[in-house]
């Protein structure tokens, strides 16, 4: 409410800077409203007049005026002044007297309002200080003005004799004071924001007011002096509803009493005017004071209690919040500590021996004075051996006793040899095992230096000893894990023109835990691609070693066996005999030339096929039980499908589609949705799928292998191949696909194949023994002809004698020259280049020829 008071104060002090039409209208309305209310209240008040016609014991207009100034500011004074003049004119001796009285009646409430604002009066009258302010400043102090001016005017204008001045003044003063005390609080309560009391409270307040009115009427209509009976009901109302109840109740009681006094009823039947006056004002004052103060007190108490409760609740809330913050901070701290701990652990594991040793840095040192045969150990030496420092006197023999027998013999021999050398030198560092006091075996690293006298006699040996057990162990485990991992996955994928391959292997988050997933891609002798992906149940070194064995076995069978089901069948037999684990595996053979994909599946999640239009389907055929799962499985079966150009095949292990709290079917559905837009870049697709499918920690290994067949004849064909005979068949297959994509005549394709085969065979033969061991093949389409260049990097070695190679070479030369339009062989120290050209008679050219 302070804000409103501030606004009010401002309104009291300042002139409006800008006045427009609607402001003038509003202002006029206020004047009319205030003046009207003042006038009506005055007419009612005059009904209660005790002296002449214009001195009444209860003068409500003063209260109205005070409230008007409080609410609308000092600028409504003309409304008050005019109304006061209108009221006084008919009852005054002359106009001047009326004007004087009206001035007093205007100034008094204005002063009251100004004083109230000054002391920070709150219109709710909900503090004791507000009650005090309204009683003393507004009701008693300010009204001295109106009473003095009014009573004075009565005397001066001759309305009353001078002798009655004190009585008139007293009545005037108390009347105005009562008007303020009784009416102002009531109006202020009325003008407050609407009350949100419940129906029950509304009924209660109405009943209480009715009770106050009844009791008041009752006591005023009996001759017995029972006016005090009203007080308890006022108190009750004030206690229950504070000013909201007290103000109207006080108004009611005072109004009824004043009315009774004016009409000489009940307690006011007897006595002089002065006695009646005293009695009435005493009653009214009691009513006003007690209701005002009581209400203010109750409000203040209630507010204090509420404030206390609120601050208690706030405190509680703050404590709770602070506690939560603290516990969050604590949790964060714990997490950080745990993370750091974890990181430290991983770091230690990874950094192997060096970091391990550095971190522990427990280096003991010793000295051996040889002529005296006296040995001394540092404290750390004792600790390294598992004893308290200086636990026993150390001697050379005792020190060697602590070393494992086998190593002790070696150390003795080394020392003997060192002593015999007869000069200062460092002994080679030596690792040896000891058994510590607690029985634990440790590995130590010892370094020593020998000093000899001028005659070469050994004098002194000093050395350091370090416990490197952890380092050795971490180093060993790391090496094993690394070696295994390397042996499990292909170093690189075969590079086959027109076939894109991409693979990802995501180990489970734990570092040393090598999983049992693997994938493999090999090119078979006939140029087909063998793809495998599998999962050995479990983790750790055993699963990893099983996986390694199976990978090798699978490669061997892939080279030997014809169909995928035969390969899977053989692995199945191997698993039954050799491996105690359960293994899932899918094996596929893809023929890039025909696009045929044949596969057999041993309980592995099905591959996902995404065609060029984004249609997805899981290849669920060819399914048999997992390897090692059942004793007598039936025959494995083959399934086949066709991979169109642009189709993408996705092979994966269950880690990709399994997530805690979700079924594998959800994972498969999700993968299907994600893969529906595979994009151009197969590598990006793999990354995308992994990041979308794997959100939290990788709890299981994930292997992902993607294959896509793409058209490639739009570009010249260029291959760099190892100079080994087994590359010939895949090379022919690539060239065949390239030429077929150009729609070349099948007969010509065969010719080109033979010519390329011959030139390549020569390159392979010549490059044998050469350093590089590679040769290059390129095919370029030019003017409807294919230009072939085959280049080897070996030096030319003329065919020796009449051997098999020479005969083949001769036949080859003849074939090349007969099959090609032109052949040009260029040999030099850098190698041999064969350039050949052959018209292709492409379909488009053939049609053109026919049209002619």
């Amino acid at each position: 409410m302070t804000l409103r008071d501030g606004a009010l104060l401002k309104a009291l002090r300042t002139h409006p800077k800008h006045v427009d039409g609607s402001a003038i209208f509003r202002y006029t309305s206020k004047l009319v409203l205030v003046g009207g209310a003042y006038y009506v209240a005055a007419i009612l008040g005059l009904r209660l007049a005790l002296i002449e016609k214009n001195v009444t014991p209860l003068w409500p207009p003063t209260g109205i005026a005070v409230v008007a100034f409080l609410i609308f500011g000092w600028r409504v004074w003309p409304g008050i002044a005019l109304a006061a003049l209108a009221v006084n004119l008919p009852i005054s001796t002359n106009g001047l007297a009326a004007a004087a009285t009206a001035t007093g009646n205007t100034v008094a409430p204005l002063l009251a309002a100004i004083l109230l604002v000054r002391v920070g009066f709150r219109r709710e009258i909900d503090r004791l200080q507000d009650a005090l302010a309204i009683v003393f400043l507004a009701a008693l102090l300010s009204t001295l003005i109106s009473a003095s001016v009014g009573a004075g005017t009565l005397v001066l204008s001759g309305a009353i004799p001078a002798g009655r001045f004190p009585a008139a003044w007293a009545v005037w003063w108390t009347g105005d004071a009562m008007g303020v005390l009784v009416v102002a609080p009531f109006l202020l309560v009325l003008l407050q924001r609407p009350w949100s009391g419940s129906l029950r409270e509304r009924i209660e307040i109405a009943a209480l007011l009715l009770l106050v009115a009844d009791v008041s009427v009752l006591v005023m209509n009996t001759d017995l002096r029972l006016m005090f009976l009203v007080i308890p009901f006022l108190g009750w109302t004030a206690w229950r509803f504070q000013q909201r109840g007290a103000a109207p109740a006080a108004l009611l009681a005072a109004g009824i009493a004043s009315w009774a006094a004016a009409h000489g009823l009940g307690p006011f039947q007897q006595g002089t005017l002065f006695e009646k006056m005293i009695s009435l004002q005493a009653f009214n004052a009691t009513v006003a004071f007690s209701s005002l103060f009581f209400a203010a007190l109750v409000t203040e108490r209630t507010r204090a209690r509420e404030a206390l409760e609120r601050s208690a609740a706030e405190l509680e809330d703050r404590v709770a919040r602070r506690t939560a913050e603290l516990s969050a901070a604590n949790e964060r701290l714990n997490r950080e500590i745990a993370e750091r701990h974890d990181t430290d652990r991983k770091l230690r594991q990874r950094e192997g021996q060096l970091a391990e040793v550095q971190q522990q840095a427990q280096v003991g040192n010793w000295e051996w004075l040889i002529p005296e045969d006296r040995v001394s150990w540092s404290d750390e030496m004792y600790r390294i051996h598992g004893y308290l420092p200086k636990a026993f006197p150390i001697t050379f023999e005792k020190a060697v006793e602590l070393v494992e027998e086998e190593d002790a013999t070696r150390i003795r021999a080394n020392l003997k040899a060192a002593l015999a050398r007869g000069r200062d030198h460092d002994l080679p560092p030596s690792e040896y095992r000891i058994v510590r006091a607690d029985g634990a075996e440790r590995v130590l690293l010892g370094k020593a230096r020998l000093s000899v006298g001028s005659d070469g006699r050994p004098l002194r040996m000093v050395g350091t000893v370090q416990d490197i057990t952890e380092g050795k162990q971490a180093e060993r485990e790391h090496r094993i894990a690394e070696t295994l991992q390397r042996s499990l996955l292909p170093d690189r994928l075969p590079e086959i023109p027109g076939v894109l391959l991409a693979a990802r292997y995501l180990p489970a988050t734990s570092d040393l835990e090598v999983g049992g997933d693997w994938y493999d891609v090999v090119q078979l002798p006939n140029g087909s691609l063998a793809l495998a992906i599998g999962d050995v149940a479990g983790h750790g070194l055993r699963a990893a070693s099983t996986m390694g064995q199976l990978r090798m076995a699978l490669r061997a069978y892939a080279l030997e066996e014809g169909s995928p089901s035969q390969v899977v069948g053989r692995v199945r037999r191997l698993v039954r005999v050799l491996v105690p684990d359960i293994v899932t595996l899918i094996y596929l053979v893809f023929d890039p030339e025909s696009g045929t994909l044949r596969f057999a599946n041993a309980g592995h999640p099905p591959p996902l096929l995404v065609d060029g239009d984004g249609q997805t389907s899981y290849l669920e055929g060819g399914l048999g039980p997992p390897l090692g799962a059942i004793a007598h499985p039936g025959q494995d079966i083959d399934a086949a499908t066709h991979l169109d150009a642009g189709s993408t095949l996705l092979l994966f292990t269950d880690g990709l589609v399994e997530r805690r709290g979700a079924s594998i079917l959800d994972g498969l559905t999700r993968l299907k949705t994600l893969a529906a837009d595979p994009g151009e870049d197969l590598e990006a697709l793999c990354d995308q799928l992994l990041s979308a499918m794997v959100t939290d920690e990788v709890s299981d290994d994930i292997a992902l292998l993607a294959l896509r067949q793409v058209p490639f004849a739009a570009e010249p064909l260029f291959l760099r191949l190892p100079a080994e005979p087994h590359v010939l068949a895949p090379l022919r297959q690539t060239i065949r696909r390239w030429l077929r994509e150009l729609d070349a005549d099948p007969g010509i394709v065969d010719d080109v194949l033979v010519a390329c085969g011959e030139a390549s065979a020569n390159a392979i033969q010549h490059a044998y023994g050469a350093k590089d061991g590679l040769f290059e093949v390129s095919l370029v389409l030019s003017d409807g002809a294919v230009e072939i260049t085959i280049r080897d990097l070996g030096s030319w070695r003329p065919s020796s004698g009449s051997g098999r190679a020479a005969r083949r070479g001769g036949l080859g030369q003849r074939l090349m020259r007969s099959l090609m339009d032109s052949v040009d062989v260029n040999s030099g120290p850098e190698g041999t280049v064969v350039r050949m050209r052959r018209s292709l008679q492409l379909k488009a050219d053939r049609e053109r020829t026919r049209a002619r």
């Binding site: 078979l524 002798p525 006939n526 087909s528 063998a530 892939a558 080279l559 030997e560 066996e561 014809g562 053979v589 005979p725 087994h726 010939l728 068949a729 022919r732 065969d750 010719d751 194949l753 033979v754 085969g757 011959e758 065979a761 392979i764 033969q765 098999r804 005969r807 083949r808 070479g809 001769g810 036949l811 080859g812 003849r814 074939l815 007969s818 099959l819």
Partner: protein
């Protein structure tokens, strides 16, 4: 089939029939030669190498056949090679003049004409 080539043989009395299917190049010529020679029994008078299902053959294959022919000749055994007219490998024989060096027939019936029904002795 994953192998580059495949060798099947049948023995019909003194006649040995060897079918080579697939591709022959310098990566598998020795294996094929060995497989064919293993198929030839001591009592074989005549060897028929059927290349009807051979899809690729270059100088390595031709050299293989020449070597085989020499060995057969040394043992006084006869060699015929079946290369159909529409075979993809026929051109290699034509262009290198091997048609005049080796007995090349275009239909297996021509080479097998001497086999009488009932005398079949299948060792496959």
């Amino acid at each position: 089939m994953n192998e580059l080539a495949r060798v099947d043989s049948e023995q019909h009395g003194s006649l040995c029939l060897v079918r080579v299917s697939g591709e022959i190049d310098m990566s598998n010529d020795r294996e094929i030669l060995t497989a064919i020679e293993m198929a030839v029994a001591r009592e074989t008078d005549r060897l028929v190498v059927d290349l009807t299902h051979t899809t690729y053959l270059d100088s390595a294959g031709l050299a293989l056949l020449l070597r085989l022919a020499e060995r057969m000749q040394a043992r006084q055994q006869m060699l015929s090679v079946v290369v159909p007219v529409d075979s993809r490998v026929r051109r290699a024989f034509e262009l290198t003049g091997l048609l005049s060096v080796i007995d090349v027939v275009s239909r297996s019936e021509d080479a097998l004409g001497e086999i009488r029904p009932g005398s079949s002795n299948d060792h496959a």
